[in-house]
């Protein structure tokens, strides 16, 4: 198990180096003069301009800047946020917990709803419920996430005010006790997490359905059936555990989409996470923050898929024993 984690962590290093190189190359390729962006339209004497460029290291050759870009990133120094006047690491450190909380809640909901819907699918394959769930899943997986968020606000926060329409805390929550604050945050997270989870949940449900139908046809399920177990029992106790394992891998593969979806969901719901911070930084042309959050989002995906592999290893004795992962 430890070797699995160590191997995966090591293989992440070239990937992160690739992301850093790619972002550096994009910066270099982008049109526009960085000095003009920094200085604006104000008339500046040439020597001041040279001093400012030197202060940001923009007067050095690209290769030298590339090396210092890579080494400072390796040291954990991601630069200075121009729009917020703070180190980028501080900005992102504040935005990370809300995103992990939202993403984690969405991941849990996605698995829960996907497993439940997939099981309902398999109760009577080809029946009316199966067909209607297929249609609902297809629609949910096809509507734009941000639009679903707006409709959810309209229906569940305005027409029927069950949930708050935006932000992460109620007004005045600073003075509350920790349990009340946590419950408040969970209440605020419910709607965005549901919206974020819905599309992926539909994918999981289809996957679970296919796995269940496969398992139901296999020897162990038919043997249980032959011993007199009811269809429901065979489905829940025999077929579902066999079909659930690969779902963990699927959830890991779906992570990049979850993290991407978090951007628009956070913008729609005013959730103070990485997506919102990145979006604000794009509008403010605060490139160091945008660059760093691309990197951090990739780290999140790598960490998440590592967790998925560990979860799979814990759930599946064959993987635990060191057999190759079936992809």
């Amino acid at each position: 198990m430890l070797r699995l984690v160590a191997r995966r962590a090591l293989s992440a290093i070239p990937l992160l180096a690739f992301v850093l190189t790619l972002t550096f190359a994009l910066l270099e390729a982008a049109p526009g003069d960085p000095a003009a962006t920094l200085l604006g339209d104000a008339p500046v004497p040439p020597e001041t301009r040279a001093r400012i460029l030197a202060a940001y290291g923009l007067d050095r050759p690209p290769l030298s800047r590339y090396v210092s870009w890579m080494t400072s990133a390796a040291r954990g120094d991601l630069g200075w946020s121009l729009s917020r006047g703070r180190p980028v690491t501080k900005v992102l450190a504040a935005a990370l917990p809300p995103t992990i909380g939202l993403g984690g809640a969405a991941l849990a909901l996605q698995l829960l709803l996907g497993l439940a819907a997939g099981t309902l699918h398999a109760v009577r394959p080809g029946g009316a419920l199966d067909r209607w769930l297929s249609v609902a899943g297809l629609v949910l997986a096809s509507v734009p996430t941000f639009w679903l968020g707006l409709m959810a606000i309209l229906l569940l926060a305005v027409a029927v005010p069950l949930f708050p329409p935006s932000s992460m805390h109620s007004v005045g929550a600073e003075g509350w006790g920790a349990p009340a604050r946590a419950a408040d945050a969970a209440w605020h997270a419910a709607l965005p997490a549901l919206v974020l989870a819905s599309g992926s949940a539909a994918v999981v449900a289809r996957f679970v359905r296919a796995g269940l139908l496969r398992s139901l046809g296999e020897g162990f399920a038919r043997a249980a059936r032959a011993r007199g177990a009811s269809h429901g029992r065979v489905l829940l106790r025999h077929a579902l555990p066999a079909a659930a394992g690969p779902v963990i891998t699927l959830a890991g593969l779906q992570l990049p989409f979850l993290v991407s979806g978090a951007v628009v969901v956070e913008v729609v719901f005013g959730w103070p996470g990485m997506g919102r911070v990145t979006y604000d930084a794009v509008l403010a042309q605060d490139l160091p923050v945008v660059l760093a959050s691309v990197l951090l989002a990739t780290v999140l995906v790598i960490a998440g898929s590592l967790l998925a592999d560990v979860g799979l290893a814990l759930a599946d004795p064959r993987v635990r024993a060191g057999a190759p992962l079936v992809r």
């Binding site: 096809s142 734009p144 639009w147 305005v158 993290v259 628009v264 990145t278 794009v282 490139l287 995906v301």
Partner: protein, 312 residues
């Protein structure tokens, strides 16, 4: 079963394409005109308003029209009434706004259909870019093999694990938004699945006799790829292209919703939803229609891909 899905999806996509292509000749209002910000502001779907047409053809919109006792009319805009003498000989019309209007009084039906042009064009071009780029990477990797194959596939895996929208945000921050950059950005961040599919297919095709025959009779690698490989890849490229079309339309909408896609006034569906977001509480219809339109396109593209894949 599969036939029906492909047909239904193709009909929906074809209908949208037709409507979008014909937008200039359809009897629609000007999508960007704001003829009356007061009377026409945020009208609900199926609304009728009054309009006075003067003999010279000009229109004046009114919330209410009433007869004057001594002949002629008076009409109300906002809180103020204006009297029109009988001598002016205006004609009273009652135009209908089927999908309603937005906060600036623009006709939403016209904006939806003109928006389809932008959204579908951007989506289709981005899907083409993704298919072409992914197909080229996959075919080169599969045909070349060895270290070039390993390098290209590592790059593909790496590109797959960067969350797409974050990368798109970075690119949008670096490059000025336009239709062309949106197409290139969306296509350039979605080619990876096609690359994997094409590489796998190429590897299996490579062992077939007709490729070996072509190679041994002296065909150049380019000729082998285009004349002997591409025809066999057409089916999977078509299926993946259909899926990409749906996803590209969605991604473009996300970017435009964030204000980083195709810039106004040529509003795409994502931009229309962004317009409606600010008016969500008092005018739900502005954001609703383009979302439904987007969903029909994505569902249709998915149905085509799914049905065709099952038939394969």
């Amino acid at each position: 079963m599969s036939d029906r899905r492909v047909r239904a999806g193709a009909i929906v996509l074809g209908a949208w394409a037709l409507v979008a292509a014909l937008a200039p000749v359809l009897p629609l209002r000007d999508p960007n005109a704001q003829p009356d910000g007061l009377v026409l502001r945020s009208l609900p779907p199926m609304s009728r308003v009054a309009a006075l047409r003067s003999p010279d053809g000009s229109l004046r919109y009114a919330a209410e029209v009433a007869d004057e006792p001594g002949g002629g009319l008076r009409f109300r805009r906002g809180a103020s009434w204006t009297t029109v003498p009988a001598s002016e000989r205006v004609e009273v019309l009652h135009p209908r706004f089927v999908l309603g209007t937005d906060a600036l009084g623009r006709d939403l039906l016209a904006r939806l259909i003109w928006g389809a042009r932008v959204s579908l064009l951007a989506g289709a071009l981005a899907a083409l870019v993704a298919i072409a780029l992914g197909g080229a990477v996959g075919a080169i990797a599969g045909l070349a093999g060895g270290s070039l194959d390993a390098l290209l596939m590592r790059a593909t895996d790496a590109a797959l694990s960067i969350p797409r929208l974050f990368l798109l945000l970075l690119l949008a921050a670096l490059f000025r938004p336009s239709l062309a950059t949106t197409v290139v950005l969306v296509g350039g961040t979605t080619w990876m699945v096609a690359a994997r599919l094409v590489r796998a297919e190429t590897l299996s095709l490579k062992t077939r006799d007709h490729l070996a025959a072509a190679r041994s009779s002296g065909a150049s690698p380019l000729r082998v790829a285009t004349r002997h490989l591409l025809p066999h890849l057409a089916a999977i490229l078509g299926i993946e292209g259909s899926l990409r079309l749906g996803q590209a339309v969605l991604l473009e909408a996300s970017l435009s919703f964030l204000g980083l896609g195709v810039p106004p006034p040529s509003a795409s569906w994502g931009g229309l939803i962004a317009d409606g977001r600010d008016r969500l509480l008092d005018a739900w219809w502005i954001a609703t229609w383009p979302g439904i339109a987007l969903a029909t396109v994505v569902v249709a593209a998915g149905l085509v891909a799914e049905g065709a894949e099952d038939r394969l």
